[in-house]
């Protein structure tokens, strides 16, 4: 934990820890592969559009691009497996380990620990969502006080967790169509084709409109939020986006008196 102090000081300003190096590298691998997959995939979906052919030629053409797509897909699947192993490892090391040390290991406690992980949706997210709509529709002047992960970030996180298990196996099945037809009927390939291409479109549109709005186009972030590079979020952004966590960390670090109130 010492490696990443919860609050770092740079030029007299406070920065709050959010993402470790391993996490930031995972994010870089994730977006590089997704962008590559989109560039080598969508020209095929929209083959009859004027931009499709030049773009497809640019990314390798019909001889090369499919292989780039497949290999990149494998890297993304690898990342998915790695990440799942990563949080399971952290879960056992930090949480189950603590339960063992405290000699309170039981099925109920492990389940409780699981649901208290920062990425797992909980009841607070539901009330935060209501708070957000109250704020956005002018029924309240108080922004929702999000904790470490807001419901939006959780949604962003679970989008690939839903998308990759749909896209990956479907893509692999279309790749190994000959082998797969020994085990499943041919019409499954029709289904996989729709799954692969439509889920990809959903993912791409979500990332382009929603995720990029949150981290690029939004007036607060334009041209780019830097937390994915530095791993730290400025005090101002913390107050704005994660007020509950901000208060908690300031208290933990003994800076209770310096907590700045959130004036919407």
């Amino acid at each position: 934990m010492q490696r990443y102090p919860k609050i770092a000081l740079r030029n007299g300003k406070r920065y709050f820890f959010r993402f470790s190096q391993v996490q930031r590298i995972q994010h870089i691998v994730l977006f590089s592969t997704v962008i590559t997959l989109a560039l080598t995939g969508f020209p095929l979906r929209y083959y009859d559009q004027p931009w499709a052919k030049p773009l497809y030629e640019f990314v390798g053409g019909i001889e090369i691009a499919p292989w780039i797509h497949r290999i990149t897909g494998l890297i993304l699947l690898g990342l998915f497996v790695f990440h799942t192993g990563y949080w399971i490892y952290l879960f056992f090391k930090n949480r189950v380990g603590r339960l063992i040390r405290e000699k309170t290991l039981s099925v109920g406690n492990v389940i409780r620990e699981f649901f208290s992980m920062e990425m797992i949706p909980n009841r607070k997210d539901f009330f935060d969502l209501i708070d957000m709509f109250k704020y956005l529709l002018y029924f309240s002047n108080r922004r929702p006080h999000y904790d470490r992960m807001s419901w939006k970030e959780k949604f962003d996180y679970f989008a690939p967790y839903w998308g990759i298990p749909i896209l990956g196996p479907a893509g692999a099945a279309l790749w190994f169509r000959d082998e797969i037809t020994h085990y499943v009927p041919g019409i499954v390939l029709n289904a996989f084709y729709i799954m692969h291409t439509d889920e990809a479109l959903l993912a791409a549109l979500f990332l382009f409109f929603v995720h990029w709005y949150n981290v690029h186009y939004s007036p607060e972030k334009f041209p780019m939020a830097t937390v994915f590079l530095t791993g730290y979020l400025s005090e101002e952004e913390m107050i704005h986006e994660h007020y509950d966590e901000y208060e908690r960390i300031m208290k933990e670090e003994g800076l209770e008196l310096e907590i700045i109130p959130q004036n919407h």
Binding site: L44, Y47, D48, K53, Y56, G61, I62, E63, M132, Y135, L136, L137, Y138, F139, S140, N141, L174, R177, D178, E179, T181, H182, Y183, V184, P185, G186, I187, V188, L189, N190, A191, Y193, I194, M195, D198, E199, L201, L202, L205, F206, F209, V210, Y213, S218, P219, H264
Partner: protein, 387 residues
């Protein structure tokens, strides 16, 4: 694609014309001179070159603008590119062998050529006069022919294809293992034949004859466009009771997309609709047991040695010509598409609404629906009045 090929052909012809024009002219002059002298037959090489155009039709047809608007209002081009013609399959055939009705010069509009007539060439394996009749017979019995058809099926005889409806563009590509060759005969390949076959143009002709049959002469997308001339026409489909727009649904498959992006290996109509190893002209209707796409044969067709050879028999269940808008015929595809459509709309509209509201909130920060208590409102008003 067609434009590409035309350009390519034109440039090939132009190059060829440039390189051979002086030689041809000298040969032609020599030939005339010697024929006058009655010695022409002794110079076999010069004779062979002239033999393709005994009646000197190219005298007029060499002009690029030779054309007219015919009775139907169609533009007809009568230009013959000799360089290209001499590379084609009919190189050794006289114009009059096919255009048999022409008997004077200048001639009247020629009739449509009958490809089944016997020409002056001798078929080398059997010593008989050559004709395309066997191919025409196969075609006549196929789904594209009118033999053994019910009356209602041949109501529109003009819809059935004639030879030239498909064989409309000669395009010759050398075998791919001779590198860097454009259209035409590979000199490198030829050099291996010419060591022994030195007389006349035999090596060129034979090489052309064989290699043109060893490879696909058109890229996949061109074949599809050829078939689409009829099968992509909705009225045509209706007239013949054919299933939906098979051309559009083909382009939607990976087969179609690969063909569209110029893959030489992409399967086109012929690859699936002709029984593996059979003559292309023998395509049978889907209902016929002899058809490559008959229920019982699909699996064998897909698993042909050049395609999905390692696939299981169930690959036959893949629905190639899917109409995504037809819930009765393709319920799985239709409802899956619906599901993803609604999911996508739901997710995107939800988040885009939030983004919109956020921007609105930022634009008008002071607006509020909160009802202030009466005293507080009064005090705000009085403070405002004092100021």
């Amino acid at each position: 694609m067609n434009i590409d090929i035309n350009n390519r052909l034109h440039s090939v012809c132009r190059d060829r014309w440039r390189s051979t024009a002086p030689v041809c002219m000298i040969r032609g002059l020599l030939c005339c001179l010697l024929m006058f002298c009655g010695f022409g037959l002794f110079l076999s090489d010069a004779y062979a070159a002239a033999a393709a155009d005994e009646l000197n039709c190219v005298l007029c047809h060499k002009y690029r603008g030779l054309s007219r608007i015919d009775e139907a209002g169609d533009f007809r081009l009568y230009y013959i590119n000799k360089g290209l013609f001499n590379k084609g399959p009919h190189k050794r055939v006289q114009c009059k062998d096919c255009h048999a009705d022409i008997d004077k010069i200048p001639h009247d509009p020629a009739e449509k050529v009958d490809c089944t007539i016997q020409c002056h060439l001798t078929e080398p394996s059997g010593n008989e006069k050559f004709t395309h009749k066997p191919v025409a017979e196969v075609l006549a019995k196929s789904v594209h022919g009118t033999v053994d058809k019910g009356e209602e099926d041949v109501q529109y005889p003009e819809d059935y294809p004639y030879c030239t409806d498909c064989h409309d563009q000669p395009l010759y590509r050398p075998l791919s293992f001779f590198k860097g060759q454009a259209a035409g005969v590979s000199e490198r390949g030829l050099s291996r034949c010419k060591t022994c076959h030195q007389t006349g143009d035999f090596a060129e002709d034979f090489y052309n004859h064989v290699t043109s049959r060893l490879q696909k002469m058109r890229v996949s997308s061109e074949i599809v466009k050829l078939c689409a001339k009829c099968h992509g026409d909705e009225e045509f489909q209706e007239r013949h009771g054919l299933q939906g727009n098979v051309v559009a649904s083909y382009w939607e498959t990976f087969h179609g997309k690969a063909a569209y992006f110029g893959s030489d290996e992409a399967p086109d109509c012929i690859d699936c609709h002709v029984v593996y190893g059979e003559n292309v002209h023998s395509i049978a209707g889907r209902a016929s047991r002899a058809s490559a796409t008959h229920e019982a044969n699909v699996s064998a067709t897909c698993r042909a040695s050049e395609c999905h050879a390692d696939a299981g028999e169930q690959i036959a269940g893949y629905q190639v010509h899917t109409d995504y808008g037809d819930p009765d015929k393709y319920p799985l595809q239709y409802y899956m598409l619906k599901f993803f459509k609604y999911l996508m709309a739901g997710v995107l509209y939800f988040f885009i609404t939030i983004i919109f509201l956020e921007l609105l909130r930022r634009l008008f920060p002071d607006f509020s629906f909160i009802k202030q208590p009466e005293e507080k409102r009064q005090s705000t008003i009085s403070t405002a009045a004092k100021q």
